[in-house]
């Protein structure tokens, strides 16, 4: 174990290096670009013995990684935003062929409007394609979750790819002092890549991914669902081993001061750090508020989140994506489905879009609203919590209409 000052992108790269990825295909996109650069430096300097394929698009980035994994090596790529959108159809190829690729996704809104900055809309649009999604709360978690992901994804009870989601700039470009495992301890934890079930090998030939009729398609999908069902248990088991080896606990869901809380906010990503600060501050004022931080969003941690939320009468859910056309954002919809048998009032909040900071003041406002709701002092809540007063006037065409 050594201490290093790393930003989120460097932390992800450090984990990929520790996992000794053998093929890397990368295409630069803000805010992921420094990952593409750093990985190429490691390969060029010989620090990491891997094939680096400088692809011409994200579509090819994931295609290369997918068939490389199918050919029997630990393969890596990383992306963000529109890059993830371009990968969309290949995402299903990776997961459907049960290839356990671990891919950092630096969360950034998908254009239009063009944004370079953080929101979860990119990853949320890809949430149902058979990839697991783990959301990091801080830079240490970027390293820890990436390293842990190799074990979870490659476990033969799971064999499902992972997106390690880190908030663009808030995590990708924020420096933090990290505990970095030694190569030896990482080797002992991650181990070498082992191929399973489907692979390309001329000495043991098989044809993968041909047309499948309706006599088998459902069952093959079910196998993916079955793997997802296994994944949380496997995660818990491996997180336990991780804690033993490295001394850090990684929770699927963490209830922060939720036990005696009157109201709880459900959130994911870097905003959880701010939310904890707000919880502490409000607790000092005698307000019993709590936070449910979700690390594993896919598969959705039904049991773990329910354990935190059961009995809570008023719950807020913060979606850092707009959920356009839906009744609410993806996290809120999942939470409502989870609590279907509970008599809870679950409020939907949207904010932090396109890089807008999720401020302590706004989180405090949410908690105060939730407290007023439980006290019967208000019925309405401010769904779009950080919306300006004049949203429809923005970019209004002033002339020639």
């Amino acid at each position: 174990m050594a201490h290093k000052m790393l930003d989120g992108n460097e932390a992800a790269v450090e984990a990929m290096k520790l996992a000794k990825v053998q093929v890397i295909s990368a295409y630069p996109i803000t805010p992921q670009s420094s990952m593409s650069e750093k990985l190429s430096e490691l390969v060029a300097s010989g620090e990491l013995k891997a094939e680096y394929i400088r692809v011409e698009s994200e579509h090819s980035a994931l295609s290369v990684a997918t068939t490389a994994a199918l050919t029997g090596v630990r393969a890596a790529t990383a992306t963000a935003s529109n890059g993830l959108a371009l990968m969309h159809e290949v995402l299903s190829m990776t997961s459907g062929n049960r290839l356990p690729i671990v891919m950092p996704v630096v969360n950034r809104g998908v254009a239009a409007p063009w944004t370079l900055w953080c929101e979860h809309g990119d990853a949320m649009a890809a949430r149902d394609l058979g990839w697991m999604q783990f959301y990091c709360q801080n830079v240490q978690e970027v390293l820890d979750l990436t390293l842990l992901s190799y074990r979870v994804a490659e476990d033969e009870r799971v064999l499902t790819p992972v997106m390690v989601c880190l908030d663009g700039f808030f995590l990708s470009h924020s420096m933090q002092k990290l505990d970095v495992p030694s190569q030896e301890s990482a080797d002992n934890f991650v181990g070498p890549y082992k191929r399973h079930n489907t692979y390309l090998d001329p000495k043991d030939p098989m044809f993968c991914c041909d047309l499948t009729g309706n006599g088998e398609f459902t069952e093959m999908r079910y196998q993916q669902k079955y793997a997802m069902d296994n994944a949380l248990e496997v995660f818990e088991e491996i997180a336990g081993e991780f804690e033993e080896r490295f001394g850090r606990k990684i929770n699927i869901v963490e209830g922060y001061k939720t036990e005696d809380a009157d109201v709880v906010l459900v959130a994911l990503g870097s905003m959880c750090g701010t939310a904890k600060y707000v919880v502490d501050k409000m607790r000092e004022e005698g307000k019993k508020v709590g936070l449910a931080e979700i690390t594993v969003f896919r598969p959705f941690p039904v049991k773990q989140l329910k354990a935190v939320l059961t009995g809570k009468k008023v719950i807020g859910v913060f979606d850092r994506s707009a959920g356009l056309g839906s009744q609410g954002g993806p996290l809120w919809c999942e939470t409502c489905a989870l609590m279907i048998d509970e008599n809870s009032d679950i409020r939907h909040y949207v904010g932090g879009l396109g890089g807008r900071d999720v401020t302590a003041a706004n989180l405090e406002k949410i908690y105060n609203e939730l407290l007023e709701i439980i006290e019967g002092k208000r019925t309405e809540h401010t769904e779009w919590i950080d919306l300006k007063e004049n949203p429809l006037d923005i970019r209004k065409v002033a002339k020639n209409v």
């Binding site: 698009s57 295609s63 068939t67 994994a69 001329p202 043991d204």
Partner: protein, 293 residues
């Protein structure tokens, strides 16, 4: 591991559900015959997916993967990278895709592979339209050919795929025709032996889409060359060799007259097509010859 149901000769099953007279089937059998079993094949969804198989049955005895329509080259690059990472320098990686998956939607990933010098063999069987989906026009559909999306005849000419490939200055590129299989097989062998990317563009007459008697597939392929509609040449380490230069071109009618896709043409249009073909042929030959200067 395959459970071999029928010990067919070669690496392709006897019973492939290709149309009668399909040019592509002949191409695949010859490609794999030359490349041998130490080969991994990448196939996009399209006519060649008939070789991938259906359900738990494959038409091939070699290892293979069916990717997306536009990433055949990138998928091949991934296989190559993983083989290299494992110290394997002997296995051939072949991408086998049609004109749509190559000249249209797959052009970007092909360009990426060529520019990076990834060691893969890329075979484009060109049946000059989207045949697997029912004969919709592609950028490789020739001038005036009728397809279901160019019902009055395609108003523009055929994209020159091999010249785009050659613009990447790769070590080996060639065109081929199934009427001369010896020539094609030699080219496949050269592609296999190339240290870097290699590409063969072979015309694949399609009885269903071109609307002709399935017995005439070879005859049509030969007529395409003899009328100047398909030029056989190789680009090898920067040098062009024209393999077959007829002293005199046969009339275009000898080629298009056999095919229903040109049936709608008026006398005037036929004459125009003849002139366009001759002009294009002469220009192309001149261009190829000038590439050696």
């Amino acid at each position: 591991m395959f459970d071999i149901q029928h010990n067919s000769k070669g690496l392709v099953a006897h019973g492939i559900s290709a149309c009668a007279g399909c040019g592509m089937e002949l191409i695949m059998r010859n490609v794999l015959d030359v490349l041998g079993e130490d080969t991994i094949i990448l196939i996009p969804p399209g006519c060649s997916a008939l070789f991938s198989g259906f359900g738990d049955v494959s038409g091939l005895k070699i290892a293979g993967f069916q990717g997306n329509l536009e990433n055949t080259a990138a998928c091949a690059a991934g296989v190559r990278a993983a083989l290299t990472a494992q110290g394997n320098t002997h296995t051939t990686v072949v991408a086998f895709a049609g004109d749509g998956a190559t000249a249209d939607i797959g052009l970007q990933s092909l360009s990426g592979v060529l520019e990076r010098r990834d060691k893969i063999v890329y075979i484009c069987y060109d049946n000059e339209a989207y045949m697997n989906t029912g004969t919709q026009g592609s950028s490789a559909t020739p001038y005036y050919a009728s397809t279901t999306t160019t019902p009055a005849g395609k108003p523009t000419g055929k994209k020159n795929l091999v010249q785009i490939v050659i613009a990447h200055d790769i070590p080996y590129a060639a065109t081929a025709s199934i009427h001369n299989l010896n020539d094609f097989r030699k080219k496949v062998q050269k592609a296999k032996d190339t240290d870097g990317p290699s590409m063969i563009h072979i015309q694949s007459p399609c009885p269903s889409g071109w609307k002709y008697d399935p017995a005439k597939t070879i005859e049509i392929a030969r007529a395409a060359v003899q009328t100047g509609n398909w030029i056989l040449y190789e680009y090898e380490d920067g040098k062009v060799t024209i393999n077959n230069k007829p002293k005199e071109l046969k009339p275009v009618e000898d080629y298009i007259g056999l095919q229903g896709r040109f049936k709608h043409l008026t006398e005037e249009q036929r004459e125009e097509l003849q002139n366009a073909t001759t002009k294009n042929y002469e220009k192309y030959i001149k261009q190829l010859e000038s590439m050696n200067n």
